[in-house]
């Protein structure tokens, strides 16, 4: 108990709370963007994941992700049901906080990652198929990738890749799985012709605000200590979000003639995604550049969807896959050991080309693994339980057909 630091512990536990808040925040962010008949179905995805993955994590997921290493690929099940995970610290991960605190902080990441994917199949997913897919995904995709990047002995960690809070593990992982889902589940009825428009943007803005707020826990909390590094991560997180929000709005203003609220909040999320891997390695001014690039390139990524023809309903690919990859690459460019001596110097600060190379390896490995395994899981669920509601159910809406509920009884 001697090594437990009360400040660090308080900070990490509160950060875990902040990250938890991001999942209902995501629920509202997505919920406002779908049509009224699907608002509860959309919110239910995130909320149900909060329940299901919280339990799966404790039973299996945490051990698979962070347990003793097997071949650099996965953790052993030594910590099944949190056996051996107690109130003393685990020096491999966080020496000054209880192991349980580290575990529960990580749990919230394991929860929000599959929740991100739900945006890709919004408005047409069968609830039972969603439950089966998500449960399997959490154990077979999230935990392995988390192990590679953050677990002791994980092969990407061994390569020295820098991913402070989950650009690969969370955002590229979810974003690429989302692409697989959009392709396998197929387009919504009326996609491209009908007016599929958000029904409650104020709700979306509320959700985005909760995400921005929670992200301080996501990034600063990843310092795993109430430290100068946490302060640095907090600052760059806010800067990237702010810059990206303005940049996306500006891009829209120039491109379409008007800046939109949806654009501003989408931009802020894109900036938060991009700064995620970089948050513990970059200084404020590079964070501004990251924000500008995220806001503009993710806007472009979202427009590309229309040209490529896939129905990623809520733009998970354009924001999380593109933003995550962008952030991981920019980390290899702007990282500085002056900010975090545990990292490397990026290209701009005299780092070798290999630093950027390792970032690319992490990005590409995540993309390939996530896409392939997600695709297989989706096909498996499609062939057994079924992935998609019937055409008539889609017309009536998920709230009534999947949950026998109505979102707004006015």
């Amino acid at each position: 108990m001697n090594s437990i630091n009360p400040g660090d512990t308080a900070f990490v536990l509160l950060s875990a709370g902040l990250v938890m808040l991001m999942t209902p925040g995501l629920a509202l962010f997505y919920g406002g963007m779908v049509r009224a008949k699907n608002v509860l179905g959309t919110i239910m995805h995130s909320f149900f994941i909060l329940g299901m993955v919280s339990v799966l994590w404790v039973l299996f997921g945490y051990s698979l992700a962070f347990g003793p290493d097997v071949g650099g690929f996965i953790g052993r099940l030594d910590w099944l049901g949190l056996r051996g995970v107690g109130q003393t610290a685990n020096a491999d991960y966080a020496a000054s906080i209880p192991h349980l605190a580290f575990m529960i902080f990580q749990a919230m990441f394991a929860v929000i990652t599959p929740a991100l994917i739900t945006g890709a199949f919004a408005e047409r997913m069968k609830f039972s198929g969603f439950v089966l897919f998500t449960g399997l995904w959490s154990l077979l995709v999230y935990s392995p990738v988390a192990h590679w990047v953050w677990g002791t002995g994980g092969w990407i960690r061994q390569l020295g890749a820098m991913d402070f809070a989950g650009g690969t593990v969370v955002h590229i992982n979810a974003g690429v799985a989302a692409l697989a889902a959009a392709l396998v589940v197929g387009r919504r009825k009326g996609f491209g012709s009908d007016t599929l428009v958000p029904h409650n943007l104020p709700l979306t803005v509320l959700g985005a605000a909760m995400l921005w707020f929670g992200w301080f826990g996501f990034n600063a909390g990843s310092a795993l200590a109430a430290s100068g590094l946490a302060a640095s991560a907090f600052v760059v997180t806010n800067l990237a979000a702010a810059t990206a929000a303005v940049s996306w709005a500006a891009a829209e203003w120039i491109h379409r003639g008007k800046p939109t609220t949806l654009g501003a909040v989408s931009g802020c999320v894109a900036g938060l995604v991009a700064i995620t891997p970089a948050s513990g390695f970059v200084a404020p001014l590079p964070a501004i550049i990251i924000g500008i690039l995220a806001g503009t390139l993710c806007y472009g990524g979202v427009l590309a969807k229309w040209r490529l023809g896939y129905d990623d309903s809520l733009d998970v690919v354009g924001i999380h896959a593109v933003g995550g990859a962008l952030g991981a690459i920019l980390t290899g460019i702007f990282a500085s050991r002056a900010i975090n001596p545990a990292g490397m110097n990026g290209i701009v600060f005299g780092g070798a080309a290999q630093v950027l190379g390792v970032q690319l390896v992490a990005v590409i490995a995540t993309i390939i693994y996530s896409f392939v395994v997600s695709f297989i899981l989706l096909k498996l669920v499609q062939a057994t339980v079924g992935l998609r509601v019937s055409e008539e159910e889609e017309e009536t809406g998920l709230d009534l057909t999947q949950h026998s509920e109505v979102g707004y009884a006015i």
């Binding site: 007016t195 428009v197 958000p198 829209e252 491109h255 379409r256 008007k258 939109t260 949806l262 654009g263 989408s266 806007y299 979202v302 427009l303 229309w306 733009d315």
Partner: protein
């Protein structure tokens, strides 16, 4: 007996209702509808995708009154709902076969 159906701008509703009260009409049904005549719609943007919206919000008023009252009702509506721009709306006059008061069962002209 006639039913006067008026489709007007929503922000003219309050003023029109007050004008109708002044000419002695206090019973009416109002609904929120969408529609268009010759008024142009507007464009909405959601993450870069453009949506043309042609159906615009309007207010629909229905008043049932004796035939002799129709002209003064129509005049009150026209005077108060008009802005002079396209989109001011339309008024229709329909014949009504019967009218029944639910509370008492009275029928005909008395029940209007």
């Amino acid at each position: 007996m006639k039913m006067i159906v008026a489709i007007i701008r929503p922000d003219k509703l309050q003023q029109t209702k007050q004008a109708l009260a002044r000419v002695g009409i206090t019973g009416m049904t109002v609904s929120d509808v969408r529609g268009h005549g010759r008024q142009k719609g507007h464009t909405e943007f959601y993450r870069g995708s453009k949506h043309q919206v042609d159906l615009l919000p309007k207010a629909r008023l229905e008043v049932v009154a004796a035939g002799e009252q129709v002209e003064k009702i129509v005049e009150a509506i026209v005077a108060n709902a008009k802005t002079g721009q396209m989109g001011d709306g339309k008024i229709f006059v329909l014949p009504v076969e019967d009218s029944i008061r639910v509370r008492t069962g009275e029928r005909g002209g008395e029940a209007v």
